[in-house]
């Protein structure tokens, strides 16, 4: 039987506010345990939450960027359950009336087509603390620094059918929250993470199969692997006569498998109800317009501008607007003195991304800055070096040998543009290859390339290729 996977993602993005969503404690990552957990975060008796306006503004920004409805009157609710990283015994979240609803996100598929993924809702809530499982005499330690950090939970429809689609969607959301400057997107630190709801059904069947929720997905690679693994597990289970049970499964990256979470075995009854300590959040049109004015250029608009303004191909524009950082990098390269936009696009999407990929580095860890790369392109444009030599210079810059002019000088890579020198090299080669010269003159035109190669080699690649062509042609045809 042919199976279809159905995947929905719940993405949790920590909002980049300075203080917590309901208290004035700091949100910075990496502080000593419990030094950023104030009375409100600890849920001390008598404390009360007060909503951070910046968290609201960021959620609205996100809603506007995905063409969603901003709920004019949204309500915070309590999700009640006991867990040691949840100090109050309830999480303040939104349930029936989330701040953002009915948005969408377009993704590009591998075959070049696009698909629109529905975003059912995005709601504000508080993050929980962390359980540290190092052994404290058989006990678990609780650090509540993260408790109360603002999150938006972005819930997609069950509209994706492969791990690749899910990853493409998640990458788009990741890029968007960073474009919007509302989340640092750091997956290792848990600022951006997701749970995946996965089910399978016979192809053509409308009714959804029973889903399993996979938790703890904090890298794109893990998401793809975990989802593929889970799809295979469910198909194997059903084909073997078994049944998928609705449960929460934890992805174990080390073993590359998902396993049932013991702590979530019992069915939860969260007893949601409106939080009586908080009032409805009312947002009028004036507020929404105020936020809209603060929106930066979004990926779709930026992509079109790159095509119009720089004459980029649609493919290059897509690649270069994948993240705000990359787009900014490209624009800095393209606008460097003496640079060229098309060359900049080729170099950023080619050499630079290739080198970053090879070494699994992020853009901000690139040893070649936008200024350095712009300088290199300027030297190609002004004929100081050829494109081929430029690759050598780029490699040297990557290895930390300095900026491009220093490397060109130190290595003597400056292009030979002096006609006399090139002619001398040509004369030498023609003298060394009398047979080939005779053959050429007898009509074997193909040998022209042989002579170009020999002269170039003799010049250590530094001869200006155009000049070399002209001069060689003149000599051979004279």
């Amino acid at each position: 039987m042919e199976w279809q996977a159905v995947i929905g993602l719940e993405i949790h993005a920590q909002l980049a506010t300075r203080s917590k969503i309901f208290s004035g404690a700091a949100t910075a990552y990496g502080a000593a345990p419990n030094t950023q957990a104030c009375a409100v975060d600890l849920g001390l008796p008598g404390v009360l939450p007060v909503l951070n306006g910046e968290a609201v503004r960021m959620a609205v920004k996100f809603g506007l960027a995905i063409d969603a409805q901003i709920t004019p009157r949204s309500v915070f609710a309590r999700k009640n359950y006991f867990y040691p990283d949840l100090p109050k015994g309830y999480q303040i979240s939104q349930y029936e009336l989330p701040i953002v609803a009915h948005g969408s996100m377009e993704i590009e598929l591998e075959d070049g087509t696009t698909k629109t993924i529905g975003i059912v809702r995005a709601h504000l809530e508080e993050d929980a603390g962390k359980s540290l499982h190092e052994d404290f005499h058989g006990l678990t330690g609780i650090d509540l620094n993260r408790a109360g950090t603002p999150l938006i939970e972005i819930v997609s429809g069950p509209e994706m059918h492969s791990a690749k689609e899910a990853v493409a969607y998640m990458k788009k959301i990741h890029a968007l929250v960073r474009y919007l400057d509302i989340c640092d997107g750091n997956m290792q630190e848990g600022s951006f993470r997701c749970d995946a709801n996965v089910s399978v059904r016979p192809l053509g069947q409308e009714k959804l199969g029973t889903r399993a929720e996979i938790k703890n997905l904090n890298s794109f690679r893990f998401i793809e692997r975990a989802i593929n693994h889970e799809i295979a597990r469910q198909i194997e289970l059903i084909e073997g006569g078994g049944k998928v049970v609705q449960e929460t499964r934890l992805y174990d990256a080390e073993r590359d498998e998902t396993r049932s979470m013991r702590s979530k075995e019992e069915a939860f009854d969260y007893r949601y109800f409106p939080d009586p300590d908080l009032l409805p959040v009312e947002l009028d049109d004036k507020y929404i317009e105020w936020v809209r004015k603060s929106l930066p250029e979004l990926p779709v608009a930026k992509r079109q501008r790159f095509i119009d303004q720089y004459g980029l191909t649609s493919r290059d524009a897509t690649i270069l607007t994948a993240s705000r950082e990359l787009a900014d990098y490209f624009e800095r390269v393209a606008k460097a003195p003496g640079s060229d936009a098309k060359l900049a696009a080729n170099w950023v999407s080619g050499e630079l991304l290739g080198a970053l990929n090879r070494e699994a580095r992020e853009l901000d860890q690139s040893p070649v800055t936008a200024t350095m790369l712009g300088g290199l392109i300027a030297r190609i444009v002004d004929n100081t070096i050829s494109g081929k030599i430029a690759k050598e210079v780029f490699a040297a810059m990557w290895d930390g040998e300095g900026d491009c002019d220093a490397i060109i000088n130190a290595r003597g890579l400056k292009q030979i543009t002096d006609s006399g020198s090139i002619e001398a090299l040509i004369d030498g080669i023609l003298a060394k290859n009398p047979q080939q010269l005779a053959d050429y003159r007898a009509g074997k035109d193909k040998l022209f390339g042989f002579f170009v190669g020999q002269v170039m080699k003799a010049s250590k690649g530094q001869a200006n290729p155009a000049q070399l062509n002209d001069l060689l042609k003149k000599k051979l045809d004279s």
């Binding site: 600890l42 001390l44 040691p84 499982h133 678990t140 609780i142 509540l144």
Partner: protein
């Protein structure tokens, strides 16, 4: 509305309350009586009335995003029943 023995056990578990077996009948009686009392609510003709979660019809105030709380960990840990290395300790959490 009469609660069964198992209902009381289920609610007590959900609320994380240790109730001993011989206490259950008393809770069964009193909880059933209370639920019978509040069951009178269904006689009320609520029509299209909107639920009222708050006494006052006021919107949530928004706080400026300012860090106003200093680290008071030591003061807070001092009242914790069991802590070590700046952490609150609990029996092992199994995921």
């Amino acid at each position: 509305m009469t609660l069964e023995h198992t209902d009381v056990e289920r609610i007590a578990h959900l609320a994380r309350l240790q109730i001993s077996g011989d206490e259950i009948p008393a809770y069964q009686n009193s909880l059933s009586a209370i639920l019978a009392l509040v069951g009178e609510l269904k006689l009320a003709d609520v029509g299209q009335v909107l639920p009222m979660a708050h006494p006052l019809d006021v919107a949530q105030r928004l706080r400026p995003d300012v860090v106003s709380e200093a680290d008071q960990r030591d003061r807070f840990l001092a009242i914790a029943p069991h802590s070590e290395a700046g952490l609150y300790l609990v029996p092992k959490v199994i995921e």
